[in-house]
């Protein structure tokens, strides 16, 4: 009985470090209810957006005041550490920008805006839990929470064939991916007798010392890890689990596509980092690199192969796209590939590079989608033809889009370059060590891919600045002030942090503490 009581005490004590999540939970419920009260209010969108921002703001304030010491919460279910806090800020930033983008837009009719915001808050909570989960069960539940909301929001446009189709494809791919992941987890649970991520590496070593047949144990571990990777890879849209990505991105309402391209991807990387780098890498990870193997499984090499496949496929397919949303979808697949390079480096520097890159990626990708929304509202289409002559029609949007696209390519004065630089440095650091040649190959393929990506990004820039307009422009509606502000702010941020990156480096270095339990 005393044993039970101590567990209860841990749960009660954990609530103190769980306040941002509680704020989001109650915020979700409050948004559901307020939505009903303000049903016919004339200033409805503004009020709902303010409410959503308020919820995010309260969560942010509580996140600041939260104790910073790393520790385990709720009997090992989640952890509080600098790593999780960094990702939580990322999600709050992305969600805040998404709220601001969607408030004046036409993608969400005012009558349904409240449901969107409430579900978005629930999704942010799911992302928070993903970033801090230290138990496979929590990983599964938080991924499901994020996925369920995503299925609903992807099909948010009523009576729209593309939206309905996007959500159907999403729910089927997502259901299969989570089922496969769960099956992998069940084998891991059976083999190791625990679902706690922090204990996995120790149990694996213990298992190898025991009398079970070595080949079968190894094979089981490989199968279980491959199945689990399917679930995580589906969230970050890595090849071969990327098929849903372009269709869902195209069919979903654009502000949500923007959030989907940054939030779940970052959370998926947080889970992957905790699982592969935080738990599976032993002490030898500092030196071994590709040679690092847990249970005889060279996971950095496997991830390296995944990385190459993901970026190559993403970039080559993006070349042929004429719909901007699909182009950005394939570009986001390619970026998942670059980010996987950092994971495959299996070093603190690689982890830091991923964090820097994700931070920049949030701003530049949300900014790009904002331009897509702007053009779609003026012309009603997402085709690249409608971007011809944008520089004359809307100089601010065209300039900002050019900044974002060059930053996505990774060209020097822009912030994207800093992120890519750190990723490549993390990989090149591995070249003198064991398996160094393969790291060199990985870096070369990454560089080639960046060159390929320049081609399709520049195609858009050329359309905006050089090509003659495809059709005589209609009288474009006035751009909401909010969009102008957001565009300028994001573009300026991308420029400033491309030249003055020390704050990002300092912040990510300080956040590099992964709680290992």
């Amino acid at each position: 009985m005393t044993n039970l009581l101590s567990l209860v005490d841990v749960n009660l004590a954990s609530a103190a470090s769980f306040r941002p999540e509680l704020a989001l939970t109650f915020g979700t419920m409050a948004m559901f209810i307020l939505d009903l009260f303000w049903k016919n209010h004339p200033a409805r969108p503004a009020r709902l957006a303010t409410g959503a921002l308020l919820v995010l703001g309260v969560a942010a304030a509580l996140l600041v005041s939260q104790p910073t010491a790393p520790g385990s919460l709720f009997n090992g279910m989640i952890a509080t550490d600098g790593f999780a806090t960094f990702f939580k800020w990322l999600f709050l930033l992305a969600a805040g920008l998404t709220v601001l983008i969607s408030a004046p837009g036409k993608d969400f009719p005012p009558a349904r805006l409240g449901e969107f915001y409430a579900l978005l808050m629930a999704m942010v909570l799911g992302l928070f839990l993903m970033a801090s989960a230290t138990d496979l069960l929590m990983v599964y539940l938080s991924i499901e929470l994020v996925s369920l909301v995503s299925y609903v929001l992807a099909g948010f446009k009523k009576g729209d064939r593309r939206a309905a189709e996007a959500s159907l494809k999403y729910v089927i791919y997502g259901g299969v991916a989570s089922g496969v992941m769960l099956f992998g987890m069940s084998y891991l649970f059976g083999l190791l007798g625990t679902t706690s991520i922090g204990q996995l590496a120790g149990r694996i070593q213990h298992l190898q010392a025991s009398g079970l047949p070595a080949a079968a144990t190894k094979l089981t571990l490989v199968v279980a890890m491959v199945l689990i990777t399917a679930g995580v890879g589906y969230k970050i849209a890595a090849v071969p689990w990327h098929m849903w990505c372009p269709d869902v991105y195209e069919g979903a309402p654009t502000p949500f596509t923007a959030f989907l391209s940054v939030g779940p991807k970052a959370a998926g990387f947080a889970v992957a980092l905790r699982l592969f780098y935080g738990a599976l890498s032993g002490p030898s990870a500092v030196t071994a690199g590709f040679g690092e193997a847990v249970g005889g499984l060279p996971w950095p090499a496997i991830i390296g192969v995944m990385s190459v496949a993901t970026m190559t496929l993403g970039n080559l397919t993006a070349l042929a796209q004429t719909n901007l949303k699909r182009l950005l979808a394939y570009s986001s697949i390619a970026h998942a590939g670059y980010l996987l390079m950092g994971l495959s480096a299996a070093s603190d520097r690689g982890v830091q590079a991923i964090m820097i890159y994700l931070l920049i990626y949030v701003v530049m990708n949300l900014g790009s989608f904002l331009v897509v929304i702007l053009v779609a509202e003026a012309t009603g289409s997402e085709s690249i033809l409608d971007y011809r002559g944008l520089a004359k029609r809307h100089p601010l949007a065209a300039t900002a889009f050019a900044v974002f696209l060059f930053s996505l390519t990774g060209i020097p004065p822009f912030a994207g370059f800093v992120g890519k630089w750190y990723l490549f440095v993390a990989v090149l650091d591995r070249v003198p060590g064991p398996g160094g040649n393969w790291y060199a190959v990985l870096a070369i393929i990454g560089a080639l891919n960046s060159a390929v990506s320049l081609y399709y990004y520049v195609r858009v820039v050329r359309a905006m600045f050089i090509d003659q307009p495809y059709a005589e422009p209609r009288q474009a509606p006035a751009t909401p002030l909010m969009y102008q502000l957001l565009l300028s702010a994001s573009a300026v941020a991308v420029l400033v942090f491309g030249l003055w990156w020390t704050p990002m480096i300092d912040w990510t270095s300080a956040s590099l503490q992964i709680f290992k339990g």
Binding site: M77, A111, L145, S167, G211, L219, T220
Partner: protein, 169 residues
């Protein structure tokens, strides 16, 4: 090898279970598939009892065979769906064959590793293993956070289902 009564009971549930599962896949009409699935869920509940998972067996019938399947049947009735009724062309057949072989290969792999790996005997468990009391204790102590997260997940799912399916805004 002596066949014990428990093994006979296991087979009495397992064989119809596999048959019903295959029935879900080969059925042409969603109605037959759904009925097969109900049968599969019942048989699986029987297997759970053999594993002394009383609470889960109970929930399996209540939630799966009860609530989830009623939902499926309701949607089938609502949309009045018939069979697939289309001929498979040759390419499709090859694709089928590939998928079935791939799935079979994976199944064989899983079967082999599960035979090799799980070497240990069944542990001796107390009389309250798998009862509501034992599982409830775990749920409200170690698994408190997942429990609360699940409650939020269910709320969101209900709202989400209404948002997606309702016709008027």
């Amino acid at each position: 090898m002596n066949v014990t009564a428990e093994q006979v009971i296991f087979l009495a549930f397992a064989v119809p279970l596999v048959a019903a599962a295959i029935g879900v896949v080969v059925a042409r009409s969603p109605m037959y598939a759904a009925m097969s699935l109900v049968g599969a869920f019942f048989c699986l509940a029987g297997v759970y009892v053999l594993l002394t998972a009383h609470l889960i067996a109970f929930l399996q019938i209540l939630v799966y065979a009860g609530a989830v399947m009623v939902l499926f049947l309701f949607v089938i009735m609502l949309l009045s769906l018939g069979g697939e009724g289309q001929q498979l062309d040759r390419l499709k057949q090859l694709q089928w064959l590939g998928f079935v072989l791939g799935g079979g290969g994976l199944m064989a792999l899983l079967a082999w590793i599960s035979r090799e790996v799980a070497g240990a005997e069944m542990a001796a468990v107390g009389p309250d293993f798998g009862t509501i009391k034992a599982v409830g204790r775990a749920l409200f102590t170690t698994y408190l956070l997942p429990f609360e997260a699940t409650s939020l997940l269910l709320t969101v799912a209900i709202v989400g289902a209404v948002v997606v399916a309702k016709e008027k805004i």
